[in-house]
């Protein structure tokens, strides 16, 4: 899509300041024959505008920064000349704490980094840990995790779209989208008992199997949700204000986007068809039929289009996952990592030993390391774990997609207007919990 050029011609009604330094208001007069009548010669006392740059501070507490992000902007008039981001206000040392925790104990921390994608992080972490342990998960677990990841992608994109609408000044889509988000949270709550901090996975399986009737509930959601999407689509995609506020902003070319390490919808909006699900698949994503939307201009509008299409594709994946969901066990049959049933732990010697070892010491992976990346709603989310053979990782590293995406914000905002900084910042889809960790 070609960039729409926006030109606003404003006739100044002020020709300068009067002798007291107040603005001189001169009504524009039009002669009867249509030609403009010269009203007054511009007074010679009109001051020259000095080329002063201004330093303006946005955040760390600002409603449009999506968290405690601080941007220091150097402005020339309203144009951003330089942008210096500051992060770390939410730094909690997750990676340090992880070195003092067993693998299953780290899972609650993964909820709290990218808290819009908590169940997706649980799955990603479990996948990384399972590679480190050398565990093959069951088929039912694989499909359940796909459902979890796509539900979490839907939640995250809904929040992103809703809050971006608010930032740009549209309120209605926010309400529609958050209602749908509530439906997903209701599903998650029935499944794992929590809405935001799900802690749904365990190394080798899931914390809980689906309750009765859950798949029907998800089926209802999957059939109704596209209607809301259509409504929002009608409301936004060709909306003049929405298009005017988003097109041509923060554009990144494909080569720039790769070099700046963008990932996820940010990268795909720039025309790079890199999706971890397709290119480095996990959870048998290669067997699902879905498309990867790719933009052309890499601006805020394309990012919106890409994310919006991803919502529809997630629905497609959910439909297929529901159709193929097999019966069978959720957890692997390996009592070195999965606790034996309580009845056995109190009656059988071997199960009791496994139970004791797991509770007191935790499962131990062999010496090794693994980097497992998944396609989180924000981009390539990787967990890098190094084990020295003990039950606690030597190093647990989160590769946060929105951290890397945000690091390109100076490149994206410089040269744009101050009010566009809000739209560009919103388009990155940042979650400070993940950035600061």
């Amino acid at each position: 899509m070609a960039t729409i050029k926006r030109t606003v011609e404003v006739e100044l009604s002020t020709s300068g300041l009067d002798a007291q330094g107040r603005p001189q208001r001169v009504p524009l007069a039009v002669a009867e024959d249509g030609s403009t009548v010269a009203v007054a010669a511009p007074p010679s006392i009109e001051p020259e505008l000095e080329g002063e740059h201004m330093l303006i501070n946005i955040g760390p507490q600002h409603p449009a920064t999506h968290g405690v992000l601080r941007l220091v902007l150097e402005l020339d008039g309203e144009t951003v000349v330089r942008c210096i981001p500051h992060i770390g206000y939410l730094h909690c040392g997750f990676e340090k704490i992880g070195e003092y925790r067993q693998y299953n104990q780290i899972i609650p921390w993964t909820d709290r980094e990218d808290y819009l994608n908590s169940i997706g992080n649980n799955v990603a972490f479990a996948l990384g840990a399972e590679r480190l342990f050398g565990i093959e998960i069951t088929e039912r677990c694989t499909v359940l995790r796909v459902i979890a990841m796509e539900l979490s992608r839907i939640i995250s994109h809904l929040v992103w779209l809703g809050t971006t609408c608010i930032d740009i000044g549209a309120f209605t889509p926010f309400l529609w989208l958050f209602q749908e988000r509530e439906n997903v949270y209701a599903l998650l709550e029935r499944w794992v008992g929590a809405r935001l901090t799900t802690s749904a996975t365990r190394v080798g399986g899931m914390a809980a199997d689906l309750p009765n009737g859950w798949t029907e509930q998800l089926q209802t959601f999957v059939s109704l949700f596209p209607k809301t999407l259509d409504e929002v689509d009608r409301m936004l995609t060709r909306n003049g204000i929405w298009v005017g506020r988003t097109i041509g902003l923060g554009a990144m070319t494909a080569a720039e986007a790769l070099n700046y390490g963008l990932s996820g919808p940010m990268l795909r909006a720039s025309g790079v068809a890199y999706d971890v699900r397709k290119d480095f698949p996990y959870l048998d994503y290669e067997t699902y039929d879905f498309d990867v939307p790719v933009g052309t201009n890499g601006d805020v509008y394309d990012r919106f289009l890409v994310r919006f299409e991803e919502l529809r594709q997630s629905v497609r994946i959910l439909e297929q996952a529901l159709r193929r969901l097999p019966d069978g066990p959720v957890n692997v049959d390996d009592h070195r990592v999965i606790l034996p049933p309580k009845s056995k732990a109190t009656s059988e010697m071997e199960s009791m030993i496994h139970h004791f070892k797991q509770v007191m010491e935790g499962p131990r992976p062999p010496i090794g390391e693994s980097y497992v990346a998944v396609e989180s709603p924000k981009g390539e989310k990787g967990y890098y774990m190094v084990s020295d053979g003990t039950s606690k990782p030597v190093r647990w590293r989160i590769r946060p997609p929105s951290f890397v995406n945000l690091s390109a914000i100076p490149k994206m905002v410089e040269g744009h207007l101050l009010s566009d900084v809000i739209a560009i910042n919103a388009s990155i889809d940042i979650v400070m919990g993940e950035i600061d960790r």
Partner: protein, 235 residues
């Protein structure tokens, strides 16, 4: 040769026609899986630079001479036969065993060939913790290297602006992810609280911001003094 603006990039484009679509890896061996073919290319191109090659859980790790990381990454990025154009991650590992060297880890992806490579450089204890920066090659390394410096104290030589990132500018307790750093920090809670209360909440502009010339005169006196004294970040 730089691609023209808005040229779409398709992963796997440099693979020979008929290459099967990638699939979820199954039954991965703990050690001794398939070696990434890039390793041989690095060996051929940079004689003596490769110190060790490991394949753990199907991921190839190449340990290289730390002084040559910059040129190796540059070559991996530029060579049409490799095209490692995506830097996933830069991080470091310190082991609990104090004798073991620190490791700096680069995770690289070649989208065109759908390859994943882990590059490592070892920093033995007692040597200066310095590696070349890959910022001139990958802009994405900017914050990742800054974070690594912030958390481990590793200096990335050639990074233009190696400041603390997650911790604040005046943080004096050291490098939090080092194994000799206690979980609760070096200072006592009382000392941490005292410092927090004694800090001037207004002097939070960084040195970079302080140098914005037009704003300089508007700054409080103590900030101007800090700028003039050339205060250093970190330790």
């Amino acid at each position: 040769m730089s691609p023209s603006p808005f040229t779409p990039v398709t992963p796997g484009s440099s693979l020979p026609a008929g290459t099967p679509a990638p699939a979820t890896p199954k039954k991965i061996l703990h050690r001794g899986g398939e070696v990434n073919p890039t390793v041989e290319a690095i060996r051929a191109q940079f004689a003596g630079a490769v110190q060790r090659v490991d394949v753990v859980w199907g991921e190839t790790t190449v340990v290289v001479d730390r002084a040559r990381v910059g040129e190796i990454v540059r070559w991996l990025h530029d060579d049409p036969g490799q095209q490692y154009t995506y830097l996933s991650d830069v991080t470091a590992v310190e082991f609990r065993d104090v004798e073991q060297p620190l490791e700096v880890v680069w995770h690289l992806r070649s989208l065109a060939f759908r390859r994943f490579l882990r590059l490592k450089a070892l920093l033995p204890k007692g040597t200066p913790l310095e590696v070349p920066s890959v910022y001139p090659i990958f802009k994405s390394a900017d914050w990742m290297e800054r974070e690594c410096f912030d958390m481990f104290g590793i200096k990335f030589v050639g990074h233009p602006d190696l400041r603390r990132l997650l911790m604040w500018e005046g943080y004096r307790e050291g490098f939090p992810l080092r194994k000799d750093f206690p979980l609760r920090g070096r200072f006592s809670r009382a000392e941490q609280l005292r410092q927090a209360l004694a800090a001037n909440p207004e002097s939070r502009y960084s040195k970079e911001e302080l140098t914005i010339a037009d704003a300089f005169e508007d700054l409080p006196l103590d900030m101007r003094a800090r700028l003039r004294s050339g205060e250093k970040t970190g330790e």
